[in-house]
Each structure stands twice: as structure tokens, then as C-alpha cells.
Amino acid sequence: MLERLKVLSELYGVSGDERRVRKYIREQVEPMCDEVYTDNMGNLYAHKKGNGKRVMVCAHMDEVGMIVTGILDNGLLAFSAAGLDSRAIISKRVAVGKDDVPGVIGSKAIHLQSEAERKTVLLMKDLNVDIGAKDKEDALKYVKPGDYISFTTKFSDFGEGLFKGKALDDRVGCAILIELLKDTYECDFTAVFTVMEEIGLRGAQAAVYNVKPEVALAIEGTLCNELPENPRRKSVTKLNEGAVISFMDGGSLVPESMLNAIKDTAIQHNIPWQFRQGTSGSNDMGPVHIGLAGCKTGVISVPCRYIHSPVSVASKSDFENVYRLAKAFLRDGRFNEV
């Protein structure tokens, strides 16, 4: 599962341009499912037919990134971004377009900055991607407006039992969801790898229509603001403290029956777990729980430090525990209790 996560983390897949991720996942899941299909938005569905409830588990394929909005006369690329902090992207290496043209996001050297400039936050509009082009004409040979821009961070082990990489939100979910497809469950099971979560939970709106789930679960990478030392309500989650169980976020409230079913599963199987002790942020369960006639939803997450930046950090044990919890929930037929 970790090997697969490495591959997934390094694939480029900014919201709206998930094709590389989709292709890889499709190859992985095709042998394990009754049918694998996509919809007009690009969501990938892996269906294991069965009797009983229609259960849908979602992980989103897309990651935060940027898009080229124009090319300046001097060959620099103007871009726009969603879900990114401009302070986090300066001086980062990027890949642009379908040919992965290397670029860097430059800024003025510290020697040349005035006192005032040093205290000013640069906004997206003040930043450009430099691909080494001589001028606009030269740049247009390699890239064009509308091309996606992605960070190039490599995945690697980190400290003791941790790993780092880009797009852990939500490739951790994708890796776990692929692993979950190896098992069989007493329900009509659809794993959905969704698109465009980061720009407004868009793919999931089509997924709920196509699958019509009675119970749905999201596997997510979530906030972990524990550095510097923060009280729990400010850190939201902590690394190495287990699978994260949500009770409420910006998109949905987890019904008591679902919350109890997930919690009891963790306790029964001795799986370390923690609450998601914050309510900001949202995920695919927002549109899913109120799609069509509505359904019962829950969210299980892996804590990821520094999400929505070019690099985040997570723990192998948390990653493993989220997988164990989701699997136990499904294997034990807990979806029948909610």
C-alpha cells in the first residue's frame, strides 16, 4: 500500500487534470472489480456487485495546484491557484503542461528587497512561473494558457515511521481505497475516485447521482496543525495518534448512528483512533449526504501536516490504521447499523 502511495503521490493531478492518476488507478483496480467506468466529469468508479445496501466509499484524485492564465512578453507565466497560500509556493519547483516542462516560481532576492517589501506578503498576482523561456514566443513553444502547473516534490521516508510527499490530501485516500477493493463485502460496493474536490466538491455531485448510495464514506487526508505545539482544538489532529473520525465539518454533520458505528468498530478491533477536533474544511460527503433523497455519511482521515502546500507529512501507522478501520467497518457490515 505504501509503494502504491509513493507512485500516487508523485503523479501530477491538479483539479480538472486528473487523467494520470485516473489511468494509474484504473490499471490497479480493474482486475479486482466487476466493472470499472468513468463519467462525463472524469470520476472513476470501481464497482463490486453485491446484494444488500448500496455503499459508496470516496477518495478524491485531485490535488491543489495552479493553472497558466497567460504568458508575459518576457516569457514568464502568469497563473492562478485554488486552495494554496501564496506564501507557501515561492521558490518551489513545478512542472507545467502535458510535457511536464520544468519551471520555478521566482521572487526578488532578499538583498534587493526594501524594509517594507520584506514585511509584505506576495500575492499570486505578484508571482510568476519561470520556465527559462527567452520571451513569449519562445515560451509558447512549450506551454500555453490553460496548462496545469503541479509541484514536483518526491515522496520519501521521513523521520521515524513518517513519510513526506505532495498531494497526500488525498492520495492517501486513493491508496487506501485501492487496497479496500481487494476484499469482498456484504453489500453493493462502489469505490469512487472523484475529481475536482479541491475546487468545490464538484465531482462528488455527479458520483452521488450515478451510484445512489444509501451509506457513504470518505477517506481523506486532513488538517494536522500540531507544529508549533498547539492545544488540541487548534491542531485538530495529531500525528501517530490513529485514524481520525469526524463528527462535523464545514460540509456535513455525521449522524450519531454513523459516528457510533465507526467509533465502535475502532474500539472493537483495537484500532487507535482520534476525533477530528475542528469543524473547518469540507470534503466530498458535503454534496453526497444531501444528494437525491439523502444518505448517511461518515469521514475517516489520515492526519497530514502542512496540507495544501507543496509538501506534507504523514505517519505510516495512521495511514495503516485508517485502512484497518475502513476495512473493519465494511467487513463487519457496520453500514447495516446506520
Binding site: E214, M248, L253, V254, P255, Q277, T279, H289, I290, G294
Partner: protein, 331 residues
């Protein structure tokens, strides 16, 4: 208005997503007056009274209320919270709260670094009288929700309570169900999770597929000293909504409600709500589009501990619901 019904419904515990107690109270009052009564998957309470025309009218009022959710419990037993719906930190402090299991608490804030007017929800906590985390955890768990406790303040025809939004409308629909006469199937729907983004109403309407929805909610007024300019006044009748942030009500629906009011000599006011959305919009955008309008109860001081309505408006709203139900021709 049956005052006991109103008090019981308005007082019931039911923050967004945890509406079961409120639902049970409403259910108790309306059960004798409907042919079917059930909670759907999200918890919306749906009461059906059968008609003969083959058409369906839905009357909807949200039964959830704003509240606080416990995020963390510190070593000394204080509970840190996040808002459920549009809760002001300033208006939370110095108030009494109650959990589903009746545990009581009072709200205060970290006063070392900030003045009361500067605080955010991050500095607000609930004191439930516990001395340690362990003692607190015996009564309250992380993820539990509290609501603000309130008494009715009777000021002649005017009545204040923290939860007039929107239980007063639930009480109006429940009261109307007692004497409802209609050729059409009547669906009285008490929706969940309005305060966190009008989430419950759409799925309810999806299943019911009404020919017409009329939501009932409260609306802000402009009749207090130096208030934001608003056309609506307390005591001048329920309103017929033209617009809020979630919806522009079709003219046919507004005319339908106004004609029904005219026939029964009920005074109504036109309403353009400056801020906020309602279930009206969520229902309008369900399936291929549903005709959706809204009758509002003028209310002073919305989302504060003293939401104030006029009982004449409340009684008139009950009549207006009945008048709409009696109409043979739907828009």
C-alpha cells in the same frame, strides 16, 4: 395558537444534525391529524394528510436550532467549542446552555488577552461545573452539542425566546395541521440542518416532489430604533417573501399566497430579506425545479437570546397556511 404546543415545540432540544428530541415533540402534537408520519434518512419529519386532487402542497419549517459543539475538554474540565450555525461568540458569553442529556453549563471566555468585543469562538468555553477532565467526561463527550437555554418573555402580544427561529414556524405548521382542509395531499415537513446551510430540505422535496412548496421561516424587521432599513414591521402580518440570498420567489407563487390572504382578509407584508437564505431556495432547485415560496414571521433580534415575534402575526400565519391549503387551483 395553542400556547402549550408553542411552548413545548419552541423549548425542545434540537441543534442542527441532532433534531430527534424536537422531532419527537412535534410528532406528539401532529400524530392525530395525519395519515402518515415518518422521519426520512436525514431526520426530516414528514407528515402527510391525503387529499383527492392528485396535487401535493408541501409546507416546510426547519426544526433545527443554532448551538455549540464540543471540540475539546481541558484538564480542568472546561469545554472548548465550535459554532453550529450562525452563533455569535459575543452573544454566547454569559448564557446558560444545555446538552441533550440535560447537562447544564454556562458560557464564558478567556479574558487574559482579549476584551469581550474582540473574542472569537476559539476563546469561548463552557463551564459545566466539573473540576477535572474526567469529571467533565462523565457528563459530556467530544462531539456533543449544546443549545442555549431560554425562557419565554411575555410582553403583551409580543413574545421573546431564543429559538423563535424557526420553532415558531414549526408551531404554526403543527397548529395548522389540526384544522387543515384541502383537496390536495398536504405534506407538513419539519426539516433538519437549515442553520448549517439549508441541507435537509432538498432531499425531503426530492422524495415528495410537491407541486408547490411554501416554507415558513422568520424574517428580520426594520422597526427598531436606528435599525438597518427594512420594510417589514412587527404586528403588521406575516410576510410574502419576494427574495432572500437563496431564492427569488416566482411571481405566480407570491400572487397565489396573496390572493389566498385577500380572500380570508389576512394582512400580509412584502418581504425582501437583506441577508441569509432559507429552505425555500434549496427546495426550488430540487429535481427539475419546484415552485417554491415562503411565508415569514416578522422577528426582531434574530440569532440573539431575545428573538421577538408578535402573536397577532403568528395567529395570522396559521390562518394563511390554512387559506393556502384551501385553494383549489395551485399556481
Amino acid at each position: 395558537m395553542d400556547m402549550q404546543l408553542m411552548q413545548d415545540i419552541v423549548n425542545a432540544y434540537g441543534p442542527s444534525g441532532r433534531e430527534q428530541t424536537a422531532s419527537d415533540v412535534i410528532r406528539g402534537y401532529i400524530a392525530p391529524y395525519c395519515d402518515e408520519l415518518y422521519n426520512d434518512v436525514l431526520g426530516n419529519l414528514i407528515a402527510v394528510k391525503k387529499g383527492t386532487s392528485g396535487k401535493k402542497i408541501m409546507f416546510s419549517a426547519h426544526m433545527d436550532q443554532i448551538g455549540l459543539i464540543v471540540l475539546d475538554i481541558d484538564d480542568k474540565g472546561f469545554l472548548y467549542v465550535a459554532p453550529v450555525g450562525g452563533v455569535s461568540p459575543l452573544l454566547s458569553v454569559a448564557h446558560e446552555v444545555m446538552f441533550q442529556n440535560k447537562t447544564r453549563g454556562v458560557v464564558s471566555y478567556e479574558n487574559k488577552h482579549k476584551k469581550l468585543t474582540e473574542i472569537s469562538m476559539m476563546e469561548v468555553f463552557i463551564d459545566i461545573g466539573a473540576a477535572t477532565r474526567e469529571e467533565a467526561e462523565e457528563k459530556v463527550q467530544i462531539g456533543d452539542m449544546a443549545v442555549f437555554v431560554s425562557n419565554f418573555v411575555y410582553m403583551g402580544k409580543r413574545v421573546a425566546h431564543r429559538t423563535q427561529d424557526d420553532r415558531i414556524a414549526c408551531a404554526i405548521v403543527a397548529e395548522a395541521m389540526k384544522t387543515m382542509k384541502s383537496d390536495h395531499d398536504i405534506y407538513a415537513v419539519f426539516t433538519v440542518q437549515e442553520e448549517v446551510g439549508t441541507r435537509g430540505a432538498g432531499p425531503a422535496a426530492y422524495v415528495i416532489e410537491p407541486d408547490l412548496n411554501i416554507s415558513l421561516d422568520v424574517c428580520s424587521v426594520g422597526d427598531t430604533p436606528e435599525s438597518v432599513r427594512e420594510h417589514v414591521k412587527l404586528g403588521c402580518g406575516p410576510t410574502v417573501k419576494a427574495k432572500d440570498n437563496s431564492v427569488i420567489v416566482p411571481m405566480s407563487v407570491r400572487t397565489f399566497i396573496k390572493n389566498a390572504a385577500k380572500k380570508h382578509e389576512i394582512n400580509v407584508q412584502d418581504e425582501v430579506l437583506r441577508a441569509g437564505g432559507t429552505d425555500t431556495g434549496a427546495i426550488q432547485r430540487t429535481r427539475g425545479g419546484i415552485l417554491s415560496g415562503c411565508i415569514s414571521i416578522p422577528c426582531r433580534y434574530i440569532h440573539t437570546p431575545v428573538e421577538t415575534v408578535d402573536m397577532d402575526d403568528v395567529d395570522a400565519a396559521v390562518k394563511l397556511v390554512l387559506a393556502c391549503a384551501e385553494e383549489k387551483e395551485l399556481p
